[in-house]
Protein backbone atom coordinates (compact mmCIF):
# COMPACT_ATOMS: atom_id res chain seq x y z
CA UNK A 1 0.00 0.00 0.00
CA UNK A 2 2.88 2.38 0.76
CA UNK A 3 4.16 1.61 -2.74
CA UNK A 4 0.83 2.66 -4.25
CA UNK A 5 1.10 5.90 -2.26
CA UNK A 6 4.64 6.38 -3.56
CA UNK A 7 3.32 6.04 -7.13
CA UNK A 8 0.47 8.49 -6.52
CA UNK A 9 2.79 11.01 -4.84
CA UNK A 10 5.26 10.81 -7.72
CA UNK A 11 2.54 11.40 -10.32
CA UNK A 12 1.16 14.35 -8.33
CA UNK A 13 4.61 15.93 -8.10
CA UNK A 14 5.16 15.36 -11.83
CA UNK A 15 1.76 16.84 -12.70
CA UNK A 16 2.47 19.90 -10.59
CA UNK A 17 5.97 20.52 -11.98
CA UNK A 18 5.32 19.76 -15.62
CA UNK A 19 2.04 21.58 -15.94
CA UNK A 20 -0.32 20.11 -18.45
CA UNK A 21 -2.29 18.65 -15.55
CA UNK A 22 -4.80 20.61 -13.50
CA UNK A 23 -3.94 24.00 -14.97
CA UNK A 24 -4.43 23.00 -18.58
CA UNK A 25 -7.64 21.08 -17.94
CA UNK A 26 -9.06 24.01 -15.95
CA UNK A 27 -8.09 26.45 -18.69
CA UNK A 28 -9.75 24.30 -21.34
CA UNK A 29 -12.86 23.91 -19.17
CA UNK A 30 -13.03 27.70 -18.76
CA UNK A 31 -12.62 28.37 -22.48
CA UNK A 32 -15.33 25.89 -23.53
CA UNK A 33 -17.80 27.20 -20.97
CA UNK A 34 -17.12 30.84 -21.92
CA UNK A 35 -17.57 29.98 -25.62
CA UNK A 36 -21.06 28.56 -25.14
CA UNK A 37 -22.98 31.77 -24.23
CA UNK A 38 -21.09 33.55 -27.01
CA UNK A 39 -22.27 30.97 -29.50
CA UNK A 40 -25.81 30.48 -28.20
CA UNK A 41 -26.77 34.07 -27.45
CA UNK A 42 -27.67 35.79 -24.20
CA UNK A 43 -31.10 34.20 -23.60
CA UNK A 44 -30.80 33.70 -19.82
CA UNK A 45 -33.68 31.25 -19.47
CA UNK A 46 -32.19 28.97 -22.13
CA UNK A 47 -28.72 29.19 -20.60
CA UNK A 48 -30.12 28.17 -17.23
CA UNK A 49 -31.87 25.21 -18.83
CA UNK A 50 -28.76 23.92 -20.61
CA UNK A 51 -26.25 24.85 -17.89
CA UNK A 52 -25.92 21.40 -16.23
CA UNK A 53 -25.58 19.64 -19.58
CA UNK A 54 -23.13 22.19 -20.92
CA UNK A 55 -20.98 21.96 -17.77
CA UNK A 56 -20.96 18.18 -17.97
CA UNK A 57 -20.00 18.06 -21.66
CA UNK A 58 -17.23 20.63 -21.05
CA UNK A 59 -16.05 18.55 -18.09
CA UNK A 60 -15.95 15.37 -20.20
CA UNK A 61 -13.84 17.05 -22.87
CA UNK A 62 -11.49 18.63 -20.33
CA UNK A 63 -10.88 15.30 -18.60
CA UNK A 64 -10.40 13.57 -21.93
CA UNK A 65 -7.78 16.11 -22.92
CA UNK A 66 -5.30 14.79 -20.39
CA UNK A 67 -6.17 11.08 -20.18
CA UNK A 68 -3.67 10.07 -22.86
CA UNK A 69 -0.89 11.24 -20.54
CA UNK A 70 -1.79 8.70 -17.83
CA UNK A 71 0.57 6.07 -19.26
CA UNK A 72 2.14 7.65 -22.33
CA UNK A 73 5.01 9.53 -20.66
CA UNK A 74 6.04 6.54 -18.54
CA UNK A 75 5.80 4.24 -21.56
CA UNK A 76 8.03 6.46 -23.66
CA UNK A 77 10.84 6.86 -21.12
CA UNK A 78 10.86 3.22 -20.02
CA UNK A 79 9.52 3.85 -16.51
CA UNK A 80 6.42 1.75 -17.14
CA UNK A 81 8.40 -1.43 -17.85
CA UNK A 82 10.48 -0.93 -14.72
CA UNK A 83 7.25 -0.44 -12.78
CA UNK A 84 5.87 -3.70 -14.14
CA UNK A 85 8.99 -5.48 -12.84
CA UNK A 86 8.33 -4.07 -9.39
CA UNK A 87 6.35 -5.73 -6.63
CA UNK A 88 3.06 -3.93 -7.43
CA UNK A 89 0.64 -5.78 -9.76
CA UNK A 90 -0.26 -3.99 -12.99
CA UNK A 91 -3.85 -3.50 -11.82
CA UNK A 92 -2.72 -1.49 -8.80
CA UNK A 93 -0.30 0.54 -10.91
CA UNK A 94 -3.31 1.49 -13.04
CA UNK A 95 -5.33 2.37 -9.93
CA UNK A 96 -2.52 4.55 -8.56
CA UNK A 97 -1.84 6.40 -11.79
CA UNK A 98 -5.55 6.91 -12.51
CA UNK A 99 -6.22 8.11 -8.96
CA UNK A 100 -3.43 10.65 -9.42
CA UNK A 101 -5.04 11.70 -12.70
CA UNK A 102 -8.39 12.20 -10.98
CA UNK A 103 -6.80 14.22 -8.17
CA UNK A 104 -5.12 16.53 -10.69
CA UNK A 105 -8.02 16.92 -13.16
CA UNK A 106 -11.40 15.51 -12.07
CA UNK A 107 -11.29 16.94 -8.57
CA UNK A 108 -10.28 20.54 -9.41
CA UNK A 109 -12.68 20.58 -12.38
CA UNK A 110 -15.58 19.40 -10.22
CA UNK A 111 -14.84 22.09 -7.64
CA UNK A 112 -14.59 24.77 -10.35
CA UNK A 113 -17.83 23.70 -12.07
CA UNK A 114 -20.27 25.92 -10.12
CA UNK A 115 -17.96 28.92 -10.49
CA UNK A 116 -18.03 28.49 -14.25
CA UNK A 117 -21.76 27.85 -13.98
CA UNK A 118 -22.14 31.57 -13.31
CA UNK A 119 -21.24 32.15 -16.96
CA UNK A 120 -24.23 29.97 -17.88
CA UNK A 121 -26.65 31.62 -15.45
CA UNK A 122 -26.66 28.52 -13.25
CA UNK A 123 -29.01 29.28 -10.32
CA UNK A 124 -27.45 29.22 -6.87
CA UNK A 125 -29.58 26.32 -5.64
CA UNK A 126 -28.08 24.15 -8.40
CA UNK A 127 -24.49 24.72 -7.24
CA UNK A 128 -24.56 21.91 -4.70
CA UNK A 129 -26.08 19.28 -7.07
CA UNK A 130 -23.58 20.22 -9.80
CA UNK A 131 -20.59 19.84 -7.48
CA UNK A 132 -22.00 16.64 -6.01
CA UNK A 133 -22.65 14.98 -9.37
CA UNK A 134 -19.32 16.02 -10.90
CA UNK A 135 -17.50 14.77 -7.79
CA UNK A 136 -19.37 11.47 -7.91
CA UNK A 137 -19.09 11.03 -11.67
CA UNK A 138 -15.59 12.25 -12.47
CA UNK A 139 -13.77 9.14 -11.10
CA UNK A 140 -15.66 7.14 -13.73
CA UNK A 141 -14.34 9.52 -16.40
CA UNK A 142 -10.73 9.04 -15.27
CA UNK A 143 -10.99 5.26 -14.96
CA UNK A 144 -12.81 4.74 -18.29
CA UNK A 145 -10.22 7.04 -19.84
CA UNK A 146 -7.45 4.92 -18.36
CA UNK A 147 -8.67 1.92 -20.38
CA UNK A 148 -8.46 3.95 -23.57
CA UNK A 149 -5.08 5.33 -22.54
CA UNK A 150 -3.75 1.82 -21.91
CA UNK A 151 -5.01 0.57 -25.28
CA UNK A 152 -3.49 3.48 -27.21
CA UNK A 153 -0.27 3.74 -25.17
CA UNK A 154 2.05 2.62 -27.95
CA UNK A 155 0.25 4.53 -30.69
CA UNK A 156 1.85 7.72 -31.97
CA UNK A 157 -0.62 10.60 -31.65
CA UNK A 158 -3.11 8.22 -30.11
CA UNK A 159 -5.11 11.07 -28.58
CA UNK A 160 -7.74 11.13 -31.32
CA UNK A 161 -8.14 7.36 -31.34
CA UNK A 162 -8.45 7.55 -27.57
CA UNK A 163 -11.30 10.07 -27.86
CA UNK A 164 -13.18 7.89 -30.33
CA UNK A 165 -12.75 4.85 -28.10
CA UNK A 166 -13.60 6.51 -24.81
CA UNK A 167 -16.30 9.10 -25.56
CA UNK A 168 -19.03 6.48 -26.26
CA UNK A 169 -18.21 4.92 -22.88
CA UNK A 170 -18.83 8.30 -21.26
CA UNK A 171 -22.45 8.39 -22.48
CA UNK A 172 -24.09 6.72 -19.42
CA UNK A 173 -22.07 8.90 -17.05
CA UNK A 174 -23.15 11.98 -18.99
CA UNK A 175 -26.84 11.01 -19.03
CA UNK A 176 -27.14 10.30 -15.32
CA UNK A 177 -24.80 13.12 -14.35
CA UNK A 178 -26.86 15.69 -16.24
CA UNK A 179 -30.22 14.37 -15.08
CA UNK A 180 -29.09 14.48 -11.43
CA UNK A 181 -27.43 17.89 -11.76
CA UNK A 182 -30.42 19.32 -13.58
CA UNK A 183 -33.01 17.91 -11.19
CA UNK A 184 -32.98 21.11 -9.15
CA UNK A 185 -33.65 23.22 -12.25
CA UNK A 186 -35.82 21.24 -14.61
CA UNK A 187 -38.06 19.50 -12.16
CA UNK A 188 -39.88 16.29 -12.00
CA UNK A 189 -36.88 13.90 -11.80
CA UNK A 190 -35.56 13.48 -8.29
CA UNK A 191 -31.87 14.04 -7.54
CA UNK A 192 -31.41 10.78 -5.65
CA UNK A 193 -32.10 8.13 -8.29
CA UNK A 194 -29.78 9.32 -11.08
CA UNK A 195 -27.13 10.27 -8.50
CA UNK A 196 -27.17 6.74 -7.11
CA UNK A 197 -26.88 5.25 -10.60
CA UNK A 198 -24.00 7.66 -11.24
CA UNK A 199 -22.31 6.49 -8.05
CA UNK A 200 -22.80 2.88 -9.16
CA UNK A 201 -21.21 3.67 -12.53
CA UNK A 202 -18.22 5.26 -10.77
CA UNK A 203 -17.75 2.38 -8.34
CA UNK A 204 -18.09 -0.23 -11.09
CA UNK A 205 -15.54 1.55 -13.27
CA UNK A 206 -13.09 1.86 -10.35
CA UNK A 207 -13.27 -1.92 -9.92
CA UNK A 208 -13.48 -3.10 -13.54
CA UNK A 209 -11.44 -0.57 -15.52
CA UNK A 210 -8.09 -1.34 -13.82
CA UNK A 211 -8.49 -4.98 -14.86
CA UNK A 212 -9.13 -4.01 -18.48
CA UNK A 213 -6.40 -1.37 -18.54
CA UNK A 214 -3.84 -3.73 -16.99
CA UNK A 215 -4.70 -6.40 -19.58
CA UNK A 216 -4.24 -3.81 -22.34
CA UNK A 217 -0.86 -2.75 -20.91
CA UNK A 218 0.32 -6.36 -20.78
CA UNK A 219 -0.52 -6.75 -24.47
CA UNK A 220 2.00 -3.99 -25.20
CA UNK A 221 4.70 -5.97 -23.44
CA UNK A 222 4.61 -9.22 -25.33
Amino acid sequence: MTLVWALIRRDLVLAMRQGGGAGMALGFFLVVVVMLPLGLGPDQAMLTRIAPGALWVALLLSVLLSTDRIFQADYEDGALEVMLLGPVPAELIVVAKTAAHWLTTGLPLALAAPLLGIFLNLPADAFAPVVATTLIGSPALSFLGAVGAAITVGVRRGGLLLSILVLPLYVPVLIFGVSAAGAAITGPVSFGTPALILAALSLASIVLCPLAAAAALRVHFR
Binding site: T2, L3, A6, L7, R10, V13, L14, R17, Q18, E76, D77, G78, A79, E81, V82, M83, L84, L85, G86, P87, V88, F221, R222
Partner: protein, 202 residues
Protein backbone atom coordinates in the same frame (compact mmCIF):
# COMPACT_ATOMS: atom_id res chain seq x y z
CA UNK B 1 19.44 -20.02 -7.22
CA UNK B 2 19.50 -21.08 -10.89
CA UNK B 3 18.23 -19.29 -13.97
CA UNK B 4 17.21 -21.89 -16.55
CA UNK B 5 16.15 -21.10 -20.11
CA UNK B 6 15.07 -23.95 -22.34
CA UNK B 7 14.43 -23.94 -26.06
CA UNK B 8 13.63 -20.24 -26.26
CA UNK B 9 12.37 -18.87 -29.53
CA UNK B 10 11.28 -15.35 -30.24
CA UNK B 11 9.66 -13.63 -33.17
CA UNK B 12 9.36 -9.89 -33.61
CA UNK B 13 7.15 -8.45 -36.32
CA UNK B 14 6.51 -11.87 -37.84
CA UNK B 15 10.23 -12.63 -38.23
CA UNK B 16 11.90 -15.34 -36.16
CA UNK B 17 14.75 -13.61 -34.36
CA UNK B 18 16.24 -16.68 -32.69
CA UNK B 19 15.19 -20.20 -31.82
CA UNK B 20 16.42 -23.05 -29.61
CA UNK B 21 18.31 -20.83 -27.20
CA UNK B 22 19.02 -22.65 -23.95
CA UNK B 23 21.26 -21.81 -21.02
CA UNK B 24 21.49 -22.45 -17.30
CA UNK B 25 23.17 -20.08 -14.89
CA UNK B 26 23.87 -20.77 -11.24
CA UNK B 27 24.72 -18.34 -8.46
CA UNK B 28 27.86 -16.41 -9.34
CA UNK B 29 27.51 -17.08 -13.08
CA UNK B 30 27.50 -14.38 -15.70
CA UNK B 31 26.51 -14.66 -19.35
CA UNK B 32 27.62 -12.34 -22.12
CA UNK B 33 25.36 -12.06 -25.15
CA UNK B 34 27.10 -11.18 -28.39
CA UNK B 35 25.95 -10.93 -31.96
CA UNK B 36 25.31 -8.42 -34.73
CA UNK B 37 22.53 -5.82 -34.68
CA UNK B 38 19.16 -7.52 -34.86
CA UNK B 39 20.45 -10.84 -33.61
CA UNK B 40 18.00 -10.72 -30.72
CA UNK B 41 20.14 -9.71 -27.74
CA UNK B 42 17.61 -7.18 -26.53
CA UNK B 43 14.71 -9.50 -27.32
CA UNK B 44 16.33 -12.30 -25.30
CA UNK B 45 16.88 -10.03 -22.28
CA UNK B 46 13.33 -8.67 -22.47
CA UNK B 47 12.03 -12.20 -22.85
CA UNK B 48 13.81 -13.28 -19.65
CA UNK B 49 12.38 -10.21 -17.88
CA UNK B 50 8.89 -11.11 -19.11
CA UNK B 51 8.50 -7.94 -21.19
CA UNK B 52 8.33 -9.96 -24.42
CA UNK B 53 6.38 -13.16 -24.91
CA UNK B 54 8.32 -16.26 -25.93
CA UNK B 55 7.23 -18.01 -29.13
CA UNK B 56 8.43 -21.26 -27.59
CA UNK B 57 10.41 -22.38 -24.57
CA UNK B 58 10.42 -21.45 -20.91
CA UNK B 59 12.43 -19.34 -18.49
CA UNK B 60 12.39 -20.13 -14.80
CA UNK B 61 14.31 -19.15 -11.71
CA UNK B 62 14.86 -22.19 -9.50
CA UNK B 63 15.11 -21.36 -5.82
CA UNK B 64 13.39 -18.01 -6.19
CA UNK B 65 10.21 -16.78 -4.54
CA UNK B 66 7.42 -18.77 -6.20
CA UNK B 67 5.02 -15.87 -5.76
CA UNK B 68 7.10 -13.60 -7.97
CA UNK B 69 7.87 -13.74 -11.68
CA UNK B 70 11.42 -13.99 -12.99
CA UNK B 71 11.18 -10.32 -13.93
CA UNK B 72 10.34 -9.36 -10.36
CA UNK B 73 13.62 -10.94 -9.25
CA UNK B 74 15.50 -8.96 -11.85
CA UNK B 75 16.93 -5.56 -12.62
CA UNK B 76 16.30 -4.75 -16.26
CA UNK B 77 18.48 -1.97 -17.62
CA UNK B 78 17.27 -1.37 -21.15
CA UNK B 79 17.84 1.28 -23.78
CA UNK B 80 15.48 3.64 -21.97
CA UNK B 81 16.66 5.19 -18.73
CA UNK B 82 13.29 5.55 -16.94
CA UNK B 83 14.49 8.94 -15.69
CA UNK B 84 11.93 11.72 -15.16
CA UNK B 85 13.21 15.09 -16.29
CA UNK B 86 10.94 17.03 -13.94
CA UNK B 87 12.24 15.24 -10.84
CA UNK B 88 15.67 15.91 -9.39
CA UNK B 89 18.34 13.23 -9.63
CA UNK B 90 17.86 12.37 -5.96
CA UNK B 91 14.06 12.17 -6.30
CA UNK B 92 14.41 9.83 -9.28
CA UNK B 93 16.62 7.40 -7.40
CA UNK B 94 14.64 7.72 -4.16
CA UNK B 95 11.42 6.86 -5.98
CA UNK B 96 12.86 3.74 -7.59
CA UNK B 97 14.48 2.71 -4.32
CA UNK B 98 11.16 3.05 -2.46
CA UNK B 99 9.13 1.47 -5.24
CA UNK B 100 11.42 -1.47 -5.98
CA UNK B 101 12.00 -2.15 -2.29
CA UNK B 102 15.59 -1.06 -1.78
CA UNK B 103 17.35 -0.42 1.51
CA UNK B 104 17.03 3.09 2.88
CA UNK B 105 20.50 4.61 2.94
CA UNK B 106 21.19 8.16 1.84
CA UNK B 107 24.19 7.65 -0.42
CA UNK B 108 22.26 6.32 -3.43
CA UNK B 109 23.89 8.71 -5.87
CA UNK B 110 27.45 8.21 -4.62
CA UNK B 111 27.75 4.90 -6.44
CA UNK B 112 28.08 6.68 -9.76
CA UNK B 113 29.49 9.98 -8.50
CA UNK B 114 26.27 11.92 -8.94
CA UNK B 115 26.07 13.28 -5.39
CA UNK B 116 26.93 16.82 -6.55
CA UNK B 117 23.99 16.74 -8.99
CA UNK B 118 21.43 15.48 -6.47
CA UNK B 119 19.26 18.63 -6.55
CA UNK B 120 19.46 19.26 -10.29
CA UNK B 121 16.31 18.37 -12.28
CA UNK B 122 17.23 15.26 -14.24
CA UNK B 123 16.09 16.91 -17.46
CA UNK B 124 19.29 18.98 -17.38
CA UNK B 125 21.58 15.95 -17.12
CA UNK B 126 23.60 14.70 -20.08
CA UNK B 127 22.89 11.34 -21.70
CA UNK B 128 25.76 9.72 -19.81
CA UNK B 129 24.64 11.21 -16.50
CA UNK B 130 21.07 9.95 -17.07
CA UNK B 131 22.52 6.55 -17.80
CA UNK B 132 24.45 6.64 -14.53
CA UNK B 133 21.26 7.67 -12.76
CA UNK B 134 19.49 4.63 -14.22
CA UNK B 135 22.38 2.37 -13.21
CA UNK B 136 22.08 3.63 -9.62
CA UNK B 137 19.07 1.28 -9.38
CA UNK B 138 21.54 -1.62 -9.48
CA UNK B 139 23.37 -0.24 -6.46
CA UNK B 140 20.43 0.74 -4.26
CA UNK B 141 18.00 -2.14 -4.78
CA UNK B 142 19.25 -5.67 -4.13
CA UNK B 143 18.01 -8.10 -6.77
CA UNK B 144 19.50 -11.47 -7.60
CA UNK B 145 19.29 -11.30 -11.39
CA UNK B 146 20.70 -8.43 -13.43
CA UNK B 147 19.64 -8.12 -17.06
CA UNK B 148 21.83 -5.46 -18.66
CA UNK B 149 21.19 -4.38 -22.23
CA UNK B 150 24.18 -2.40 -23.48
CA UNK B 151 24.68 -0.92 -20.01
CA UNK B 152 27.83 1.02 -20.87
CA UNK B 153 26.33 3.09 -23.69
CA UNK B 154 27.34 6.78 -23.38
CA UNK B 155 29.29 6.19 -20.16
CA UNK B 156 32.72 7.76 -19.66
CA UNK B 157 35.77 5.64 -18.78
CA UNK B 158 35.49 6.20 -15.06
CA UNK B 159 31.80 5.25 -14.95
CA UNK B 160 32.53 2.15 -17.03
CA UNK B 161 35.04 1.12 -14.36
CA UNK B 162 32.42 1.76 -11.65
CA UNK B 163 29.92 -0.37 -13.57
CA UNK B 164 32.48 -3.15 -14.05
CA UNK B 165 33.23 -3.13 -10.32
CA UNK B 166 29.53 -3.21 -9.51
CA UNK B 167 28.89 -6.14 -11.86
CA UNK B 168 31.94 -8.05 -10.59
CA UNK B 169 30.85 -7.46 -7.01
CA UNK B 170 27.34 -8.72 -7.74
CA UNK B 171 28.67 -11.89 -9.38
CA UNK B 172 31.17 -12.46 -6.56
CA UNK B 173 28.29 -12.10 -4.09
CA UNK B 174 26.37 -14.96 -5.70
CA UNK B 175 24.25 -12.95 -8.10
CA UNK B 176 23.47 -13.78 -11.72
CA UNK B 177 24.21 -11.38 -14.58
CA UNK B 178 23.11 -11.56 -18.21
CA UNK B 179 24.51 -8.70 -20.27
CA UNK B 180 24.71 -7.75 -23.90
CA UNK B 181 27.36 -5.45 -25.28
CA UNK B 182 29.22 -4.52 -28.42
CA UNK B 183 32.12 -3.07 -26.49
CA UNK B 184 34.06 -4.46 -23.58
CA UNK B 185 32.42 -4.25 -20.17
CA UNK B 186 35.72 -5.06 -18.47
CA UNK B 187 34.17 -7.94 -16.58
CA UNK B 188 35.28 -11.58 -16.89
CA UNK B 189 32.09 -13.41 -17.90
CA UNK B 190 31.83 -17.08 -17.04
CA UNK B 191 30.12 -17.90 -20.34
CA UNK B 192 29.28 -16.38 -23.69
CA UNK B 193 26.29 -16.88 -25.95
CA UNK B 194 26.73 -15.80 -29.56
CA UNK B 195 23.44 -15.05 -31.28
CA UNK B 196 23.91 -15.47 -35.01
CA UNK B 197 20.94 -13.53 -36.25
CA UNK B 198 18.49 -14.25 -39.11
CA UNK B 199 16.79 -17.00 -37.15
CA UNK B 200 19.73 -19.38 -37.43
CA UNK B 201 20.59 -21.70 -34.57
CA UNK B 202 23.29 -20.24 -32.37
Amino acid sequence: MRLVAEGLACSRGGRVVFRDVSFALGAGDSLLLTGPNGAGKTSLLRLVAGLVEAMAGTVRLEGGDAELTVGQHAHFIGHLDAVKGALTAAENVDFWRAYLGGAGSGDALDAFGLADLADIPAGFLSAGQKRRLALCRLAVVPRVLWLLDEPSVSLDAQSRDTLAALVSGHVAGGGIVVASTHGDLGVPFTSTLALAGRGANP
